[in-house]
Amino acid sequence: MIAEAGLAALWLAASLAFLQLALAALGLAGDKAELLGAVRPVAVAQGLLTAIAFILLVMLFLRSDMSVALVASNSHSMKPWLYKFAGTWGNHEGSMLLWVTVMGVAGAAVALFERALRRHTHMATLGGQAAISLGFYAFLLFASNPFARVQPAPADGQGLNPLLQDPGLAFHPPTLYLGYVGLSVAFSFAIGALLTRQVDAAFARAMRPWVLGAWILLTLGITAGSYWAYYELGWGGWWFWDPVENASLMPWLAATALLHSVTVLATRDALRAWTVMLAVVAFSMSMVGTFLVRSGILTSVHAFAVDPERGTFILALLGLYIGGALALFGWRVGAVREGAPFELVSRETMLVVNNLLLSVILGLVLIGTLYPLLTEAFGHKVSVGAPYFDRIAGPIALMLMLVMVIGPLTRWRRDQAAAITRRALVPTLVALLVIAILAFKAWGRIGILPFLGIVIALAVAVGSVAPLWKRNLRRTPLFTWGMVIAHLGCAVSLGGMASDSAFTVEKLVAARPGETVDTAGWTLRFLKIMPVAGDNWTALQADMEVSRGGGTPVLIHPQSRFFASPPTTTTEAALLTRWNGQLYVVLGQEAEGGRWQLRIWWKPFVTLIWLGGFLIALGGAMALVGRERRGWLLKWRSRKAQEALA
């Protein structure tokens, strides 16, 4: 019954999306207030229905209802409940339902909470949101029905990929999807504003919180995904330039650029067409990513199913929406005025350079990701991986970081180059000092990119707090603090990346229980190895005592786990976090003579990578709250003033 109810809810939601689109289109075309008045309630109802459909699917997974094909092929009754729950989206159909749910709920939120946007643009935005939702409903209902039954029902399910059986699955995909699909709101805003020709500062102020919200979640999702890959895959890597990672990075790059350009539009009423374009590009990148992942055109741990029909369907949707939005842009861009002019030496120019560099990185990641597909069409199989992206996008990212030092120290409208130089003096001196120390200490031992990375990270760290210099910290607005924290987060993250690639010490040994291994100042005593059992796995667990410089020994337990359904072996690395780095120990295979393969890494300051990611998101949240609170305060004061007059 639950499955049928879920399917019905989905069909109803799809019909409401169609109604929402029709009401908005007819209402706007004929300027009929009674039609437009119904758009918001319909949008809310549609969001509710998708949420219900999603909750019903979660219930099916929690109850292990094996008569539902999706549950049978992706779950198992013996799984811990957390993985039954999170397994809902650990497969193709479930993750697409999550996608549609986020889109519906985001639309409902725009209907309920958006107050700043002009009425007509608001309605056009909701119409746009319904239009994109419709395509994904069609995809779900015709090509990936999550509620299909299977006859006869199997005795038990086939289980979930053990790599995904980790608490990370409960957090990483939903956060990432909230961000990914949250960008659809920015896309719909752009469509709405193009239709009503109302692209101005007020529009930017209305769009900014939605972009910020999506961007914060995207940042958290990527950070969490990176840490998950780092500890789960057992090789100490945290970013692989895997096509699927690129698919999540591209919307983030576009959203980051959008976040900065929308600020220019809101503050100075400039960059109108560019901002609208970026809003279209950001969600287009989310859709391109979904196509790359879901079509199975790229094989990866994320591509749950390889099915050309689905790929074609998403490709058609992609062409329809991106093509349609670009056509609308081309048609209406003439009506969007250029906006206020600006000087060469100004905050605006700095933000334009930021946008330019982010767009170039985005373009390179896109080209690098798609290039192997292109050459394969010509019968030439190539790989484009870390060496290309590091070498090509790395230096541009470092340039971007340099702009990040100067940008916040530059004034809006017009500034003097000499004054900026004076303000950037301290960060510059810090950079020079670091160069001197590093050159003295580690010349020739570390690569040029990590070297520059450390130098620039420290310069940015100092530069990012420089805008607070000589300011009354208590009266500094929360959104300024947000910017400072987010930029500091970039520096922290860059520092972690550079430190990891420059100073990591690797040790591979085959050791017997009772033996001792020394590496990077650590002493590991391999005590014993023994079998242990979990809910749905058995494992071999090594007990080790580790200590550094004669300190108190700590026990760690790396495992090699075996899952029966589906039969897979995973490694559970033991991580020991210290303020200055992480010890990463993996238990490998048995070697001859009762020895065991051990992989040991000491990674100085590696945790800064994810701490930085978290700081970036935190900064975004502070900016969001700061801006919104200011809006509420202003409204509250004007209401008070009116009451006082009356």
């Binding site: 057992g234 002019p341 170039v360 060496p387």
Partner: protein
């Protein structure tokens, strides 16, 4: 004829053979004594694709083929071969697909030109815009 049958038998037994007596890969998970050589080998391994995995380099893969390739690379580095020479050898053997670092084949020229073209395009857009603004 007998030789053919024998060869066929050997081919058929290959999977079993692979499991019982693993081909010698002494340096799959064993580092080279000389740290500088090990760094070289490690850097190369990070840019070589594991052919039996899903987008992983041989430096971070549990697959036995990746282990064999790691061992090959370490042995060749110890024998004094240059990393780029080993890469060329691997490409000759397995095709361009094996190297995460795109080669300089003509089909890849646009890929290498992309950053310059994109930066130039951006710079041109920016210059045009600011110049016009200055004239006002």
């Amino acid at each position: 004829m007998r030789l053919l049958i024998a060869t066929l038998m050997l081919l058929l037994s290959a999977p079993v053979f692979g499991q019982s007596a693993l081909p010698p890969a002494p340096y799959a998970d064993r580092q080279i004594e000389d740290a500088a050589q090990e760094r070289k080998a490690r850097a190369l391994m990070e840019t070589i694709r594991c052919l039996t995995c899903q987008s992983q380099s041989i430096a971070d893969s549990n697959a036995s083929m990746a282990g064999d390739m790691r061992s090959q690379i370490r042995e060749r580095i110890m024998a004094g071969e240059q990393p780029e020479h080993i890469r060329a050898w691997l490409i000759e053997r397995y095709g361009d697909w094996v190297s995460y670092e795109p080669t300089a084949a003509p089909i890849l020229w646009p890929l290498w030109a992309a950053p310059i073209l994109l930066l130039a395009l951006g710079g041109w857009l920016l210059r045009g815009r600011i110049k016009r603004r200055m004239e006002r």
